[in-house]
């Protein structure tokens, strides 16, 4: 059921992207991204996440960072990473919804750095693509990348939360 909605929505996103060069589509973009987010959350609630969480990050990079931080600081660091990612997520959704290019660029900068530091290389690549789109004010690419980026961000936040819990109880 959710998959059918997502397919229809993706079709709609494609049309919006094609329209974007010719007219102002801010409201449509916001609506589409918002509905996409809702469907994604619904899909996640039904256990439809596409890949195991441990594939969210390069575990070698992540573990090296944990070793570097040391056991006590690692928990504090994970709390901080999670807090920063949540702020980025909120601001990116808001920035993309109203096509605030400056906000999107700024948040992408931070996301590239944080995702890269913890080994979330796919999310880092999505953030780089979105940053390039924000510099070029390319609505079509924003629409194409945002769903995957948002999903990657959610997955990373979940992964960090789980790691934090596991380490706190170790």
């Amino acid at each position: 059921m959710v998959e059918a909605h997502i397919a229809a929505l993706q079709d709609m996103l494609g049309q919006i992207g094609r329209l974007s060069a010719e007219c102002a589509v801010q409201d449509l973009v916001a609506e589409a991204l918002s509905r996409c987010q809702m469907l994604r959350q619904l899909g996640a609630g039904q256990g439809q996440m596409t890949a195991p969480l441990d594939r969210t990050v390069d575990l070698q990079i992540f573990e090296r960072l944990m070793v570097l931080a040391g056991p006590s600081t690692a928990i504090e660091l994970l709390d901080q990473v999670k807090a920063d990612l949540q702020v980025i997520s909120t601001n990116l959704q808001a920035g993309a919804g109203r096509l605030d290019w400056a906000m999107m660029r700024a948040e992408c900068h931070t996301l590239v750095a944080v995702a890269g530091a913890v080994g979330a290389t796919t999310l880092q690549a999505h953030a780089e693509t979105l940053h390039t789109a924000a510099v070029a004010t390319n609505v079509a690419v924003v629409i194409e990348v945002m769903p995957a980026l948002s999903e990657g961000l959610d997955r990373l936040i979940t992964f960090v939360s789980q790691e934090r819990s596991a380490r706190a109880h170790a």
């Binding site: 931080a69 600081t73 504090e76 750095a113 530091a117």
Partner: protein, 489 residues
């Protein structure tokens, strides 16, 4: 947030670092990396806090994020430099903002790092920035009062610094390995072609090791005359031979508590290999002319661009020494095997050289990128950097196009690897060769340069063939050419 508490309040220690970063998690991560490497780090999340800490702490190095919530990072840098022109500022920039980094370099930044930042690169950049210009590099201590040859491997070269730029899987694995082995005392044997960054790998091993606050002493065994090598490695006592006008500790003793890096180790003379083996077995050094040995605590890292086992088979390298040294092998991949790294390295170098030369280059056009991916790069990163330095010096800016590349490179890239000799390296115009009589009265260094340049000319600019004729390692020749270029000669 946990931070190093060693930052002094009044005057800064040589390893005092002020880290200005507004993203808390990144501030924690960079602090952890630098603290592990022995730096005393104080953090600030805003421009106002950074300026206050700067005035109180007087740090030697500032790591400055250019994007701050309350003030532009470039303005903060200008204020800091106005108050202390000697401070070394390394700017942190984000993906897609290389122009800001270039602007910072033009305004006096010491270096720049693009996020996400590799920890080895971070440590190397801060370490280099923190080294006062008036003092010799740590490793040069070994050569204090010694020969020019021993000092020839001072600060990391451009090629070495660039090694850790790049995100190819092969480099990620390599860096993992370096970090893993760094913590032990095991001898690391680095192999790889000339120009692949063996020295920076050695520095990274040292930088990640528990002895990173100790000295890192580098010796190029191929660049030191055979009769001086023993004295350079083990030292000598005053009067032990003609010219020994004072006691000299030697590299092994100078590296006590740190790391001794023996570059081109397969070129070490056999008699000295015996002494090196004894040193490794006993951990004692006995300077030439000394009556008693001295115990030292040194970690050995060595490197060669040859196949060490082949050197053993040829009788050039002692088998027992080989097995003593070849404990943890680390192989530096050639640039042609590093995928997209060639583009990342080229773009980073272009920004750096452009800033240094006051030229505004915006990147590589598609044809140049394609050529860089296709080319065999026999001289590896060192050759790539020479090409880009040549482009930056001879052109005004904009996108780098094929017609800006040095003569012969485009043609060489069109041919299959091994089909022709490597392209001409970037070398100064070749002089007329004076007769022997014309050499008399010239300094030895000038004569050496004349002979090398004439040999290069005879071999149509081929460094590898010239090196064979001169019976020295190609890397030694590259280093000499690089040194001449740096001194503008």
């Amino acid at each position: 947030m946990k931070q190093a508490g060693a930052a002094s309040s009044g005057k800064g220690l040589p390893r005092d670092v002020l880290l200005v970063e507004d993203t808390s998690s990144l501030l924690m991560i960079y602090t952890a990396v630098l603290t592990r490497a022995g730096f005393a780090v104080r953090g600030a999340a805003t421009a106002a806090a950074a300026l206050a800490a700067f005035r109180a702490q007087r740090p030697h190095v500032v790591l400055l994020d250019l994007q701050l919530p309350d003030q532009d990072g470039l303005d903060v840098m200008a204020e800091m430099r106005a108050e202390n022109p000697q401070v070394a500022i390394v700017v942190l920039t984000a993906h897609g903002t290389i122009n800001r980094a270039v602007a910072a370099m033009r305004n006096g930044a010491h270096d720049f790092l693009v996020k996400p930042i590799d920890d080895a690169r971070l440590i190397a950049a801060v370490g280099n920035a923190g080294r006062p210009a008036s003092l010799p590099a740590p490793r040069a201590a070994a050569a204090a009062g010694g020969t020019q040859a021993a000092q020839a491997v001072a600060a990391p070269t451009d090629a070495a610094v660039q090694m850790f730029v790049g995100s190819s899987p092969v480099m990620a694995r390599l860096q993992e390995k370096i970090v893993s082995v760094a913590g032990s005392m095991a001898t690391v044997f680095i192999t790889g072609e000339s120009g692949t960054g063996k020295e920076l790998a050695a520095l990274a091993v040292h930088g990640h090791s528990p002895r990173s606050t100790g000295p890192f002493i580098a010796l190029n065994c191929g660049a030191i005359p055979e009769d001086l090598l023993e004295s350079e490695v083990f030292g000598h006592m005053k009067g032990s031979f003609t010219g020994a006008i004072s006691d000299k500790p030697g590299a092994a003793a100078a590296a006590d508590g740190g790391t001794l890096f023996l570059d081109e180790v397969c070129e070490m003379a056999l008699p000295l290999q015996t002494k090196l083996l004894r040193f490794l077995q006993t951990s004692t050094v006995q300077p030439v002319g000394a009556t008693r040995p001295r115990k030292v605590n040194v970690r050995i890292v060595c490197a060669t661009n040859l196949d060490p086992l082949e050197a053993v088979r040829r009788g050039q390298f002692r088998e027992d020494l080989y097995y003593r040294l070849f404990v943890v092998p680390v192989h530096m991949p050639p640039l042609r095997d590093r995928g997209e790294d060639v583009i990342e390295i080229a773009e980073a170098a272009l920004a750096r050289f452009g800033a240094e030369e006051g030229r505004d280059f915006t990147g590589l056009d598609a044809a140049v990128q394609a050529l860089f991916r296709r080319y065999h790069w026999p001289g590896n990163i060192r050759q790539l950097l020479n090409v880009l330095r040549n482009v930056v010096v001879l052109n005004h800016g904009g996108l780098v196009r094929l017609d800006m590349l040095p003569e012969g490179l485009v043609e060489a890239a069109m041919l299959a690897p091994g089909e022709v000799a490597p392209p001409r390296p970037v070398v100064p115009p070749l002089p007329d060769v004076p007769s022997l009589g014309g050499l008399i009265g010239k300094p030895l260094a000038e004569i050496e340069r004349l002979v090398i340049e004439a040999t290069l000319a005879q071999h149509d600019g081929s460094v590898s063939r010239a090196a064979r004729t001169l019976d020295i390692a190609p890397s030694t020749l590259y280093r000499k050419i690089e040194a001449w270029e740096k001194t503008g000669g």
